[in-house]
């Protein structure tokens, strides 16, 4: 079996699928890791554009038009570039789905194939089960990014322009998360710790390193403002509206360990510490 490589970009993957179908099925697709960190950073910038709802127009011409024409001539199907807006939407979804872990290349391939045969919207609007599963991958990545933006806590390291945070990451989302905080706190270095890896964002650059948890002394994500925050959090509770089930549905329990307020009795019992009522 011959390998067809693609890089971590939707266009590259799209081209690889076209190539595979043109050359026959005796090939399989494999991700080629980007070795150049400058390239990686460039793609992360593009990813940020996508995550902000802006279509990555600058990259649309990277789809191999000759290959696409050849494919349509040989295999038939619908020209995805005929509806460029829908195609851009597909590329954005594909971009996020490529960051899903563990990766499922076969499913991504099916989704691209359905886009070619039934139209891009057939996939992005989740008409088939495969399209629905593909979109779930994309949304799982987006959701993890959003959850980190919401539930990750940061601790300013005293007298240094450094913010430190820890989170659980299942997918390849750290660069997206760091870009968000870099925009939010310009001038600060952001350190993100997840599992056995750490990412450092400083001066518009993101670097990644492996860490040895056993020998690592981590700062505790608490200071005097934690106490103030807990007082404020408890003050916001209206016990007459108690609905713990609804609260739990919004905050996945796996993130509770990073949220001090979720360790309070009030979260489990709904008893207001102020009035003693529930």
């Amino acid at each position: 079996m011959q390998k067809l490589y693609f890089e971590n970009t939707p266009e590259s993957f799209f081209n690889a699928v076209l190539q595979k179908h043109l050359q026959g099925n005796a090939h399989f697709l494999e991700r080629r890791q980007l070795v150049n960190s400058a390239d990686l950073f460039e793609w992360n910038n593009a990813a940020l554009l996508c995550s902000n709802g802006t279509s990555p127009e600058a990259r649309s011409d990277q789809v191999d038009h000759v290959l696409l024409e050849q494919y349509l001539h040989q295999c038939g199907g619908k020209d995805p570039l005929g509806k460029s807006e829908a195609f851009q939407d597909l590329l954005v979804e594909l971009f996020f789905a490529l960051h899903f872990r563990p990766e499922n290349i076969a499913l991504l391939e099916k989704a691209v194939f359905q886009a070619l045969t039934k139209g891009c919207m057939f996939v992005t609007e989740k008409v088939s089960d495969e399209a629905s599963a593909f979109m779930k991958m994309s949304w799982a990545v987006r959701r993890e990014i959003h959850n980190a933006k919401a539930f990750m806590r940061l601790l300013p390291v005293e007298d240094q322009q450094v913010l430190f945070g820890e989170f659980i990451l299942k997918h390849d989302t750290a660069p997206f998360i760091l870009k968000h905080f870099m925009r939010r706190f310009p001038g600060y270095a952001i350190i993100l710790l997840a599992g056995q890896k750490a990412w450092i964002a400083k001066n518009n650059e993101i670097s990644e390193t492996s860490i040895d948890r056993k020998n690592l002394r981590l700062p505790v994500l608490r200071d005097e403002f934690t106490r103030e925050w807990l007082a404020f959090y408890q003050s916001q509770y209206i016990h007459q509206r108690r609905n713990i089930k609804l609260m739990k549905s919004h905050v996945p329990t796996k993130y509770w360990q990073y949220m001090d307020e979720m360790q309070l009795d009030i979260v489990q019992t709904g008893v207001s510490p102020r009035t003693g009522q529930r």
């Binding site: 509770y237 209206i238 007459q240 509206r241 609905n243």
Partner: protein, 396 residues
Amino acid sequence: MELTDKLDILGTAAKYDVCAASSCSASASPKAPRGLGTLSSAPICHSWTPDGRCVSLFKVLQTNVCKNNCRYCQNRCSNDINRISFTPEELAKTFIEFYKRNYVEGLFLSSGIKGSSAQTMSEMIKTVDIVRNVHHFNGYIHLKVLPGIEPAQIEEAARLATRLSINVEAPTQKALLQIAGEKDLEKDIIQPMALIQQQKKLGRLPGGHTTQFVVGAAGESDQEIMRTTFWLYQKRDLNRAYFSAFINSDAHLSKESLTREHRLYQADFLYRKYKFTEKEIVFNNDGLLDLDLDPKLALALRQPAVFPLEVNKSSYEELLRVPGIGPQSGRRLVTIRREHRFTDLKELKNVGVVIKRAAPFITINGKKQGSLNKFMAKPKQLSFDLGGQFLLPAAA
């Protein structure tokens, strides 16, 4: 008094103010921010309280000292509670520290009226000014406008805040007098709203302006509330109205009050997002929304001649009137239909249609998908109104 106690008292005092969204166009953020913070295009909730409400903003009062005696408000002057104030510097610093720790997305600042409205508003503006110009905060700030302040203060507030709001509280002057004797609907609320509207026209306030009603405190009807709400959307360019069920003096909040509040939100959404007309919101003879049926289902059941609709042919506007089909799934249906003909309920489910609700009201390629019996099984007799006022608008 310690900061923790102040946060407890002034946070509790502000918790009944509703402020759901903390998002607005990300383009309103400076392109190359010098200071802290950004606006987010999608709302971010940083925590959730055990009542299922999100904590997105640092929601506090500048002070809970108040000269007014509004019946619905726990800070009314006749209420025996601890009275306390934040200094602008203290409040600004606390907020910035919370923001750096990613506890909150922005600031929501309201206040009781200490001395005069203008004096208190000055303190609030000073706080926001420190946040913006000393700490260089570029993110979201929602500032309450107090009734009876100077027009120049509204202009100043609009320069600093992302969103302003002034609470209507009641839909008519008569109802307002019952719960807030000191307030004049026209002078204290509607006129300042016109000034806020002017500021919005000048390109300030990227988050627009909002208002809030207390529901069930003054015997007002849902129809009165919705009529005033729709008027504010049309004439005052209001972005959003919030509804808060009244908690009476024995701190009781009935299930019916919460359902009523929910129905008002549903009716509001039908008007804003589904583009229903005022006449399409169905009230009973007392001017109340049906507590057992959501307003969209209530309208659909009143129009047996209109349904079922064919999903492969109906216009977007028609599809929006089918229970279980919302703006997003309706848009998807219309878009996909250009390339693909729907054949079964599974496909509709995949694009986001709520099958349980929609099935009795649709056909797929001429085939009926369900019966209305489950809705009709209720012992209550539903009235049918086939008059022209409930006909669907013409297809776009």
